[in-house]
Amino acid sequence: MDFITGEIVGILLFFIGLYGLMTKKSIIKTIMSMSIMESGIYLFYVTINYVPGSVPPIGQQGDAPFVDPVPSALMITAIVIGIGVTAIGLTMFMHYKQKHGITHWSRNRN
């Protein structure tokens, strides 16, 4: 089962999310698919260039190599942005639904 690495699963999640975005008309499912897509990216990032047996870059270096901390640092930022974006998307959706009762992407400009 060597091919099931974080990178491969990340890429798969990205495209699963994209499939959801392409096919689902419900706005709430759009937001969910977007989150799935972003999770795929987070997983891809935190597993890139991972060497088995490496240690976190804290304290004295022993024999084991240090892990590259940059992708994790980037992903903390990206996760925060992702939460913000999801929250804003949900807020827009709630406002739209309560005011106008629309839950799906419509075909035409009204």
Binding site: F14, I48, M92, Y96, W105, R107
Partner: protein
Amino acid sequence: MLYLLIVGPILAGVLTILFSKRDTRLFIIFVQIVQLLYALHIFIDVRLTNTIFNFMSGAPEGLSITLMADTISSVFILLTAIIFLMMLIFAYHKDYFTTQFGFLLLVLEALITGLFLSTDLFNLYVLLEVATVVVSILIMINKEKQAIYDGMIYFFVNVIGTAFLLFGIGMIYRTTGLLEMNAIAEALPLVEDPRSLYLPFALMMTTLSLKTAVVPLFSWLPKAHGTPSAPPVVSALLSGLYIKTGVYMFIRFTAMFEAVISVPELFLVIGFMTSIFGFIMALGQNDIKMILAYSTVSQIGLIMIGLTMGPEVAFWGAMFHIVSHALFKSALFLAAGQIYHYYGTRDIRQIRGVMRTMPLIGLAVLFGILGVTGAPLFNGSVSKYLIAYGSDAALVQFGLNVINLGTITYFLKFSTILFGKDERPDEVKPMREDRLSEILVFVMGTLILVSGVFGPVSIDILFGYEATVFTAGYFQKGIIYMLMLVAGTGIYNGVVKKSGILDDISHIELTFNGIITSMTGFFLFVASYLYVML
């Protein structure tokens, strides 16, 4: 000290929120003037000395987050500061200019400046994401049903598009271990297997093509830029300035990949298709804002053509067209806002006699139209001349002429609002309370003429590129323009007015799912093109 340009407006914006009970408009305009002066200082500095680098937190070059002001980006930050100052002065007497609105504009300015300055890939992602949020709030600021729907489409499409960029950045980081664009440009030729870069290139180009709104990814643009209830300032900013961040990033990213992946021919074709699609869609519109929005699509296509054509003269012509487009499109959008306020409709068939009722606005619209269609002595003609000068190929020349003919035709339709007589009875006409914004729009209109008359000089001042424009060829173009005007009038009266097909075409719209599907399709197309052709 480049970071001051980014931090300054945001800090000032937070200050205005703290004092939101008071009238903060003058303070915001004051901040804007300071920003303009500082941008001017940076611009002169870059032109006199050389590229300025700013390495954040003292980390060594290539590893730190870097801000860079070179010939191109210094012009863009200057342009940003000028356009924002004009927008704020325009909005000064409007009732939508609240503290919240001013805060959002200041933040957006900082983000756009950041996008022009930063050379760090992840930084660009963050700035794009935040800018998407700010822009969608600005689109929805009136909370009308249509505006919220358009804003939501804009928001989701752009967030998903930016996710492509983030994914691409991850793949680049996986191959090179770098995030700084100049360092990556040096490292990429050393990559053993260039095929591993095709996927990140395709991912990044999908985002950038979405941001520049080329075929087939432009569907969100007319929705966002032409939203009926968005304030004219927002539409003008989006169409005049914000869309240029995508073009600018396209320039930077193609330069970054140049050593390994160079596919200008692909984007040349895409540029032509965008331009032609843009004017076909614009021909069938009856809403003045929608005509202008589709005109932006068409002009961006023209800019892409110039950028990817190859010769230096076409490249700088396209750069000047970016500046000219920023001027005339924001002037036209602001004028459209004033016209809408006075006439109470955006329907082109019901607006008549702008020239008589609002002479200043009418003149500005006239100058804007002459600029965008490339009439001699206006700035559009200079940049279009330089772009056309870049190629001898008959097909390219033919394409450019078709685009120009299309532009002239739909702007002839647009110009019908200028003439005739306003036939409404006097009592329905609202008061024209706002002289300041009318004068400002007129000033922008004259800028179009001035920057055109002194076209070669302005290119030399802005980009340090010496172009010879006023030659026999230029005057030949002038004669061609006159002929096209006649042909355009013929086409408009003969075909466009009567044909129902154009009306049908112009109402084709992609649904949200359609937009995402075309995005995925575009990504797959670029990726497979790279694998097959290179």
